[in-house]
């Protein structure tokens, strides 16, 4: 039983990471209809930035976070202005290939700057230990969960109560109507990329503290798409719920089934199996909008 609970807890933590990536993805998708494959790479860059600020420069945690967020803002603005804006109105594949190309460039840059090595900073982030019976929750996981929930809550409030947040929601609804109402759509696009970058970088810093960062971390980005699809492609709440469901399912399935399979590695493929099942039976996900198409 405790094995099961332990799997549940670590699955929950993994699910929060999935959810963070999925939220960044959903924000961009909602506002600019662009599918951002590079979201996982934002997380990787975030992890490495965390390493640079926390370990190389020995900055305190709050200063590192501020510096990382500032870098994320610059990164988001550059990406939107120079690579995505020329593609407005182009087919889906062009945007997807653009973000894939971006992700490859990020990977190259990370290899160049950080040597593509495994970096970790256990014990640098503040720790919180929680023990429930014989079940121990790893401290950084707990911090990760708390920060993730805080980020999600801030985003929810931002979308509901601020002017720019409402402008983003409106743009998601209908670009042309929004333009005639005097909202500058390009600003909204830029803002959505900035927010996605910030969310990704914060997720990366947490992940760097929990399990370390390396180049293959960006694979998580691909797995997070299963979360996006399960939750519904344009639902932030769906992303969180689906992230937790998938994180827990993946961990439990891998924990119990891996010893039975000769090759193992079920955790790596499990989200993709879920993805196919969702796509066949419920393509719009648990909470997504059903799109009706007309000629």
């Amino acid at each position: 039983m405790s094995f099961f609970l332990q799997l549940m807890v670590s699955g929950f933590a993994l699910g929060m990471v999935y959810a963070l990536i999925a939220i960044g993805f959903v924000i961009i998708l909602k506002c600019s209809k662009a599918f951002n494959i590079a979201q996982g790479h934002f997380v990787m860059i975030g992890g490495y930035l965390g390493f640079t600020f926390l370990v190389t420069f020995h900055l305190p945690v709050w200063a590192s976070l501020l510096a990382a967020v500032a870098s994320a803002i610059i990164l988001g603005l550059i990406i939107e202005r120079f690579t995505l804006r020329p593609l407005v109105g182009q087919p889906v594949l062009a945007v997807i290939m653009m973000t894939i190309a971006l992700s490859v460039v990020f990977e190259g840059l990370a290899t160049l700057i950080w040597g593509g090595e495994y970096k970790t900073y256990h014990g640098v982030l503040p720790t919180l230990t929680l023990k429930v019976g014989e079940l121990s929750i790893p401290p950084e996981t707990l911090i990760g969960v708390i920060v993730s929930i805080a980020v999600v809550a801030i985003l929810m409030l931002f979308f509901r109560y601020t002017k720019s947040g409402l402008a983003m929601m409106a743009t998601a609804e209908d670009e042309q109507v929004v333009q005639s109402a005097g909202i500058k759509v390009t600003t909204v696009y830029a803002l959505s990329w900035v927010i996605a970058c910030i969310v990704g970088v914060i997720g990366g810093i947490i992940l760097g503290g929990v399990s370390g960062v390396m180049i293959p971390l960006s694979m998580i980005g691909l797995k997070a798409f299963a979360v996006v699809l399960l939750g519904g492609i344009n639902s932030i709440g769906g992303a969180i719920v689906a992230g937790i469901i998938l994180g827990v399912l993946e961990n439990v399935a891998a924990g119990y089934l891996d010893p039975l399979l000769p090759g193992g590695g079920l955790a790596n493929v499990f989200p993709f199996i879920i993805m196919i099942i969702v796509l066949i039976f419920r393509p719009y996900g648990l909470f997504g909008l059903v799109e009706i198409e007309r000629i």
């Binding site: 020329p86 594949l93 990977e107 796509l279 066949i280 393509p283 000629i295």
Partner: protein
């Protein structure tokens, strides 16, 4: 359109001809003669590059039919190649089939797997289909790793070189001929396939799915046909690849290869048979450039510079093409031709 001045089409056959004028024919024959005499004046290293280019061209033709003509974006093409590769590897290495029997089986197996993963394409499209094909890639590779007894799992599988009569395609030049003959045949078929009834149906589906359905194009069957043909090409290419390396592992079919095949299509030009070839040659030559420049840069800057250079170069090429020439090299080539024909009176 695009004919030299003074040349007029006077019938359906002339209208449809791929090689219309005498100059076209002369250039085609000159190119083929050059291609098939390559082993006489190139060393083994260049022949290896050309052979890999030939194999990739076959694979990308399949992707072009599927994605460029029918707009069913597949990001699992390397996975379908792996299906063909392992089918052929198992048949020749474990069951003692000859390569010539295994190749069609590999093509068929890849095609059938393609149909299975193409089934969701009736309900989903665009981004959702990309996700389904990405999932297909990872599931295929995982299954191959699981079937340890048959496929050798992560250890891989030694594969014999093909042979005919007593002659084994052992040398680089003999395999080069084999690949190039199949690549030329594949190009010929691909070019003509898109001009048949099925090809026109693919284009109708690409341009507007609902309108195509209203006109009477059976969406499900034509989409599955597109998946089948695309994956048959992938299967042939995968089979040729493992027989060339004489070894089959899943590492030969990484996920990023699927992405690069799409990148080659974008660089070359979607929905153009010539574009597929242009894109493959361009990106493969870029790789060669990186392998030459990389070590120099590594020595000068940092040891990891070579690895990052190849990633950054490829990424940048695709970014630049998407921004400045989204219709690819094929379109640029048409413009150069038009310019050359009209020069010096460009109006």
């Amino acid at each position: 359109m695009g004919l030299p001045s003074g040349t007029f089409n006077q019938g359906y056959a002339q209208d449809m001809a791929i090689f219309r004028t005498r100059t076209h024919w002369v250039m085609l024959i000159a190119f083929l003669i050059f291609l098939f005499t390559c082993p006489l004046f190139f060393g083994d290293r260049i022949l290896t590059v050309l052979t890999i280019i030939g194999i990739t061209v076959i694979s990308v033709h399949g992707l072009n039919i599927l994605t460029g003509y029918c707009n069913q974006i597949s990001m699992g093409h390397a996975g379908f190649m792996a299906v063909g590769a392992y089918t052929s590897a198992i048949l020749t290495a474990k069951l003692g089939f000859s390569f010539w029997a295994a190749l069609p089986c590999a093509a068929l197996a890849a095609g059938i797997v393609g149909i299975i993963f193409g089934l969701p394409s009736l309900r989903i499209k665009g981004f959702y289909l990309i996700m389904a094909t990405i999932a297909a890639h990872f599931i295929i590779i995982w299954v191959i790793l699981q079937l340890y007894g048959i496929t050798g799992g992560s250890d891989g599988l030694a594969v014999p070189r093909p042979e005919i009569g007593g002659f084994v395609f052992k040398s680089k030049s003999s395999y080069f001929y084999l690949v190039m003959i199949i690549a030329c045949l594949g190009t010929f078929l691909a070019k003509n396939l898109v001009r048949t009834r099925a090809g026109r149906a693919f284009i109708a589906i690409r341009d507007n799915e609902l309108a195509a359905e209203v006109m009477g194009v059976n969406l499900l069957s034509y989409k599955l046909v597109a998946f089948f043909i695309g994956c048959v090409y992938a299967g042939v290419a995968g089979s040729l690849l493992v027989h060339y390396v004489a070894f089959a592992t899943v590492d030969q079919f990484p996920f990023m290869n699927s992405v690069w095949y799409l990148g080659m299509l974008i660089v070359g030009g979607m929905g153009s048979t010539a574009g597929a070839i242009f894109g493959v040659v361009f990106l493969k030559l870029l790789d060669e450039l990186v392998t030459i420049v990389g070590p120099i840069l590594s020595a000068a800057v940092a040891p990891q510079a070579a690895a990052s250079l190849s990633l950054i170069m490829r990424g940048l090429v695709i970014i630049l093409f998407l921004i400045f020439e989204p219709r690819g090299l094929a379109h640029r080539w048409q413009m150069v031709k038009a310019y050359y024909r009209l020069w010096p009176f460009s109006h």
